[in-house]
């Protein structure tokens, strides 16, 4: 098992290098320059100044030289400084990551808590009224433009009824609140974003769960279990569910990189300082070092997520583990 993990880890290296190479070139070849060089067309910014800035950012060198320089820094875990404000890229990411992680993990937990039982019940009561109405419900969540729903709910709950704050993360005088007021304030601000992002994610997991459960319930060992007179609850939860949950584990692993990626639209509408907007703004401003850092971290987590999915799959499903040894 350990040899298997090490082998897979070493295999990741050339893959990661390839990813950085391609993304570096694609990003630098895309038209446009860092906007710090040309912000808002200010005639006070002369051509000489622009050329000088270009040089200060090393953007006048050939692209392969830029790549090698970049790579040499990355190997030492130096992601460089942002073109836009001169701050270390890692510091900027570190400021944004906790919130994005929190929202994503909470909404993911919410999705699993709701979607897995939904899927199981739908599968057990296949084609019942419950199954059909749940199908419609989760697909509404999937298909509804969330920014629109978000604005409507903000208007209703925030402006008309005044029960929830509209945007942001904290109230103005948050720092003067006591501990419980702070918790309450944060919860109020985050309720809508978390519930909404969970709502849009229900369809996927509950459908997977339903299909996988339906298949599991058709398996011969279920007939065996029923034939030997086990109570239905044991048949479903012990025999069918255990097997049906396997594909969900894979999905869980694959969603690891998604945890650090925020949603631009969501964060913009709710004015949340998350990763999505950080990356989006970096792209719009051609902040190359910021873009590359996000891409490398994202690529790394995707690869690690895949690996984790494989390992955990092997762990929960003995058949796979034995076949690999």
């Amino acid at each position: 098992m350990i040899r298997f993990i090490i082998k897979r880890l070493l295999g990741l290296l050339p893959l990661l290098l390839g990813i950085t190479l391609i993304s570096f070139f694609v990003i630098h070849l895309s038209p446009g320059e860092p906007t710090v060089l040309q912000e808002s067309m200010n005639p006070k910014v002369s051509l000489e100044v622009k050329e000088r800035l270009l040089k200060l950012y090393d953007l006048d060198k050939p692209i392969y030289v830029q790549y090698i320089n970049w790579l040499a820094r990355i190997i030492r875990f130096d992601f460089g400084t942002s073109f836009i404000d001169g701050r270390p890229v890692i510091e900027k990411i570190a400021r944004r990551l906790p919130l994005t992680l929190f929202i994503n993990i909470t909404s993911m937990m919410l999705i699993f808590l709701i979607a897995v039982p939904l899927g199981v019940i739908s599968a057990v009561k296949k084609n019942s009224v419950f199954d059909r109405s749940m199908t419609i419900f989760v697909f509404i969540g999937f298909a509804m433009p969330t920014f629109w729903l978000a604005l409507l709910l903000m208007d209703l709950l925030g402006v008309k009824l005044g029960v929830l704050p509209v945007v942001g993360l904290k109230s103005i005088d948050f720092e003067y609140f006591n501990f419980f007021e702070k918790i309450f304030d944060l919860a109020g601000h985050l309720a809508l974003p978390i519930v909404l992002s969970a709502f849009s994610g229900l369809a996927g997991i509950s459908r997977y769960m339903r299909t996988s459960m339906v298949n599991a319930l058709k398996a011969p060992y279920i007939y065996t279990a029923r034939a030997k007179g086990l109570p239905e609850s044991q048949v479903i939860f012990k025999h069918a569910l255990r097997n049906a949950v396997l594909p969900i584990v894979t999905i869980l692993g694959l969603s690891v990189p998604g945890l650090i990626g925020g949603s631009v639209i969501f964060e913009t509408i709710f004015s949340l300082p998350g990763m999505g907007r950080l990356f989006y703004e970096a792209v719009m401003q051609r902040d190359y070092s910021m873009i590359m850092a996000s891409l490398v971290i994202g690529a790394f987590l995707t690869l690690i997520g895949n690996l984790l999915a494989d390992i955990s799959y092997a762990y929960v499903d003995p058949r796979i583990r034995y076949s690999k040894q």
Partner: protein, 546 residues
């Protein structure tokens, strides 16, 4: 301001009441009504993007500039009627050959950390501005300076290589403290998130992408600002910002014409907010690529000017909240020429002029042509500005009426600039200029500024305008400069390198608990430190630095 504080403090008032004679009471009472503005409360505004850096000489984005504008001062500033007055400087003298400016600085100004401000700080700021290692976009105006000499701690002599009158206004550049930054690398310094200035507000807290909180500088040399805190919240989406205004969690925001005219007329807004309409220092134009054979002929450009109804654009796009633009200056500027009349909308005249220039519909397909070539072109504009896109659509319709086919292409900002504008790969472009208060237009209209990446991207060349633009830079006396720029105004309107479209109004809404707001040609925020809120209306707690 100890007197005012005494008046406002009810505890003190109670304690001394008995001891005071009747007359004093009456006097204090009257003074209390007429003089005393209450200190305290917070003003909450919003920005669509976070500030990038609070090192003011590096800041090129709006958010950073407007916040550092409250933390720092320059040597000069504009008063409410757009006249240049001293800020950190008491007065200045221009030598008779127009080559030297001697600034006399105000006494007893201190940095936020208590250190005295002096001419050395100004010299230091200048040195950083021209330092090739510093990533400042503002070195241009300062490269013309030959030397900056500290004569004594409060006197400074600036010598120019040649007379450069816009240089005076360039000393509005915020001054940064030498004693803190002398040994720092400005590009990466921590100062960018913990600035020390001389201005009316000090930075208290900056939560990335969430808010920037400033507190009043009690020792400000023009007096302590009344509003205790100014909090800028980062709210990127304009729809949510407007919702947040309705929950009264925002005190001040800019409005779109639609919001100003239609969406803020309910009783809720009338009872809680005041709306302000002032002039923006900007104009929107359609620029022609003058190297394009179609647009080389002045008559063609003039014809297009007749064919487009600017008032129609203003009514349709700005809902009437703007004025027809007649040239590169706005009506509030002293360089503006009242005698330049905008042409009347007249499509027949346009057709006639085009015919004179050889363009008419010879094959009866509805599109005019010349030598077998149809009059078709593409107008490009940038993504994210709906007003520009709507304006382009109205122009498209009007030009179609006289047989010109115009396509519209909307391009993302960064590639728009570097791939199309800088490289001159366009036929026509719809853009706007934000104007500095000084009318110097050299970089936009002088024929020496047509190289790739420079700002005369329409490649406008007029030797007479060139001469005047150079002359305008060499004279300091405003009335003489005004004459020059009035001529420039007329000539440029006549040449039509741009089709000048409109000057939009600047629209904003402010919670009506704020008193002392007094709109002027410069706008509304020039006297921010004098805005105040009555004690009974104050909504947020005060912040005391002690």
């Amino acid at each position: 301001m100890p007197v005012k504080k005494t008046i406002n403090s009810s505890i003190l008032r109670k304690r001394y009441f008995k001891k005071l004679s009747f007359i004093t009471v009456v006097f204090l009472f009257i003074a209390g009504i007429s003089l005393a503005c209450d200190y305290g409360d917070a003003l909450i505004n919003a920005s669509s993007a976070d500030a990038r850096t609070l090192v003011p000489i590096l800041a090129s984005d709006t958010a950073s500039s407007s916040i550092s504008g409250l933390i720092f001062n320059g040597l000069v500033k504009y008063d409410k009627d757009i006249n240049l007055i001293g800020d950190l400087s008491e007065s200045w003298q221009v030598s008779s050959d127009n080559l030297e400016i001697v600034f006399r600085l105000k006494e007893n100004i201190t940095w936020h950390d208590g250190v005295e401000f002096s001419a050395e700080d100004v010299k230091f700021t200048y040195e950083k501005l021209i330092d090739p290692e510093v990533r400042t976009p503002y070195s241009g105006d300062f490269e013309r300076v030959a030397s900056v000499e500290v004569i004594d701690p409060l006197t400074l002599k600036v010598s120019y290589k040649e007379p450069f009158s816009p240089g005076l206004a360039s000393w509005g550049m915020p001054i940064i403290p030498k004693h803190i930054l002398a040994k720092e690398d400005l590009n990466t310094t921590e100062f960018s998130r913990a600035p020390i200035g001389t201005g009316p507000y000090k930075l208290r807290k900056w939560v990335t992408q969430e808010k920037i909180e400033l507190v009043a500088n009690e020792d400000y040399f023009e007096g302590q600002p009344y509003i205790s805190r100014i909090i800028t919240r980062i709210i990127p989406d304009s729809d949510t910002l407007f919702l947040e205004l309705q929950t009264k969690n925002i005190d001040w925001m800019g409005l779109t014409p639609l919001q100003y005219n239609k969406k803020t007329n309910s009783n809720f807004f009338k009872d809680n907010f005041n709306k302000f309409r002032t002039q923006a220092f900007q104009y929107t134009y359609l620029g022609y690529n003058l190297n394009d054979p179609k647009f080389k002929d002045k008559r063609v450009r003039q014809a297009l000017n007749y064919a487009v109804d600017k008032q129609e654009i203003i009514d349709g796009v700005l809902l009437g909240l703007g004025r027809v633009c007649t040239g590169p200056f706005i009506p509030e500027s002293w360089a503006y020429n009242d005698n330049v009349e905008p042409v009347k909308f007249d499509p027949e005249r346009a057709k006639k002029l085009l015919k004179q220039a050889g363009w008419f519909d010879s094959d009866k397909d509805g599109i005019i042509d010349k030598n077998g070539q149809k009059f078709e072109f593409t107008l490009i504009t940038n993504q994210g500005n709906d007003l520009r896109i709507s304006s382009a659509q109205i122009i498209q319709k009007r030009l179609a009426d006289i047989g010109i086919r115009m396509k519209i292409k909307v391009i993302e900002w960064s590639s728009f600039l570097s791939e199309f504008i800088d490289k001159r790969r366009f036929e026509a472009v719809l853009l706007g200029w934000s104007l500095s208060r000084d009318p110097d237009n050299f970089d936009i209209f002088h024929s020496s500024k047509i190289k790739e990446g420079e700002f005369n991207f329409v490649s406008y060349k007029n030797p007479e305008v060139d001469k005047l633009l150079i002359e305008g830079r060499r004279i300091f006396i405003q009335s003489k400069r005004a004459q020059i720029y009035k001529q420039v105004h007329k000539m440029i309107y006549d040449d039509q390198p741009y089709m000048f479209l409109y000057v939009p109004d600047s629209l904003s809404i402010i919670d009506n608990r704020f008193k002392g707001i007094n709109p002027a040609p410069l706008g509304i925020s020039y006297n921010l430190i004098k805005w105040w809120v009555e004690k009974k209306d104050q909504r947020y707690r005060n912040y005391f630095s002690q």
